[in-house]
């Protein structure tokens, strides 16, 4: 087991690379994120979907080789659909997300630092306040029967990745053809 200090140092290093890439991709910009939500500029989706394809191939190979144990989160309609939509409302109003706001703050954006950051802290705290009241109710409503798509679809893991990757490539090609 590595020391706690080394673990934290790796986190910092990975974060620096992540922040550098997010800024170079334009994802830390309000204008780019709103361009995505207004369906005028698909930069955010291009970044996310190419990360998903490249990432998926590598991490599932690592898992297959026994080098990592993935931890796909389980969920429910009450948790993920409801929470996702609440998040989406905030996503459009704020124009940053929890990761990209850190990048926007790094780039000096004051609406992110003075407006958005205290807002996210308040929202996170409010959730901690209501948590005992929703934890065994709403958050468990409509639980998904399986944790992962391969289990849900009863397909081998690589079949799902093998279908998903070309589907994403096709979608991105169509987006490029449309000039978005």
């Amino acid at each position: 087991m590595r020391s706690k200090g080394a673990d934290l140092a790796w986190g910092l290093l990975f974060g620096m690379i992540f922040g550098f890439l997010l800024h170079k991709g334009g994802a830390t910009s309000y204008d780019v994120i709103l361009g995505q939500l207004l369906l005028a500029d698909f930069t955010v989706l291009k970044i996310m979907l190419s990360a998903v394809v490249v990432g998926a191939i590598g991490i599932h190979l690592l898992q297959g080789w026994g080098r990592v144990v993935l931890s796909p989160k389980r969920g429910s309609w009450g948790k993920n659909a409801v929470g996702g939509l609440i998040f989406g409302v905030g996503f459009a109003l704020l124009g940053y997300c929890p990761g990209t706001i850190a990048g926007a703050i790094g780039a000096g954006r004051l609406d992110a630092l003075v407006g958005g950051l205290p807002g996210i802290l308040l929202g996170s705290w409010l959730f901690a306040v209501v948590y005992p009241r929703v934890k065994d109710g709403l958050l468990r409503k409509g639980a998904f029967p399986k944790a992962t798509l391969p289990e849900l679809l009863r397909l081998p893991r690589w079949a799902v990745i093998g279908l998903l990757s070309p589907a994403i490539a096709l979608l991105l090609t169509l987006i490029e053809r449309a000039g978005l």
Binding site: L22, V52, V53, G83, F87, L94, P98, G99, G106
Partner: protein, 173 residues
């Protein structure tokens, strides 16, 4: 590909592939996925602890998500530094209050932008905790793990975001 540290923008595909490769290493070295939003709960809990003392730690949520510094908190701190480095190298570092797209629709008032950003942040933080993840934890790390919950969450983020952005900019503005 566009290259050079001083370029303002790199190809989104290069950036996306880079983030994908980064995730191999976070798993392999740190045994964890990239994620961001839990950090804001740890920070909010730490602030509550400063204000109310140890009682803040009795909240059931804070017993599960303990306030303080962990790997992910360091990751988020790293994002600030990495984005600042990229912004400085490309001349994009600027203390700006009002983004261009916002200004075109709602004017250059700082107060309105700050209040809407604050309210949006509150929804975002609350929703991220409710869904147990954000655009990185669910949207990138969870979807690549093929988690059903993450795909549903990610679709929810964009569905909610697209509807509210249309209302804001095509109806209200």
């Amino acid at each position: 590909m566009t290259d050079g540290w001083a370029e303002l923008r790199w190809s989104p595909y290069i950036v996306g592939a880079g983030i994908g490769i980064l995730s191999w290493f976070t798993w392999f070295i740190s045994r964890r996925p990239v994620g961001c939003s839990t950090t804001f709960s740890r920070a909010a809990g730490a602030i509550e602890r400063l204000l109310r003392g140890r009682r803040a730690l009795d909240r059931p949520y804070h017993r599960e998500v303990v306030p303080g510094v962990d790997w992910q908190v360091m990751l988020v701190v790293g994002i600030v530094i990495g984005a600042a480095a990229s912004a400085l190298l490309s001349g994009d570092f600027a203390g700006r209050w009002v983004p261009g797209v916002w200004r075109a629709a709602f004017g250059s008032g700082i107060g309105l932008r700050a209040v809407v950003a604050f309210v949006g942040g509150a929804f975002l933080g609350f929703g991220a905790r409710w869904a147990d993840g954000c655009t990185s934890g669910h949207g990138i790390s969870g979807t690549m793990q093929l988690s059903v919950a993450s795909w549903v969450s990610a679709i929810g983020f964009f569905a909610g975001g697209i509807v509210v952005a249309q209302l804001l900019f095509r109806v209200l503005a």
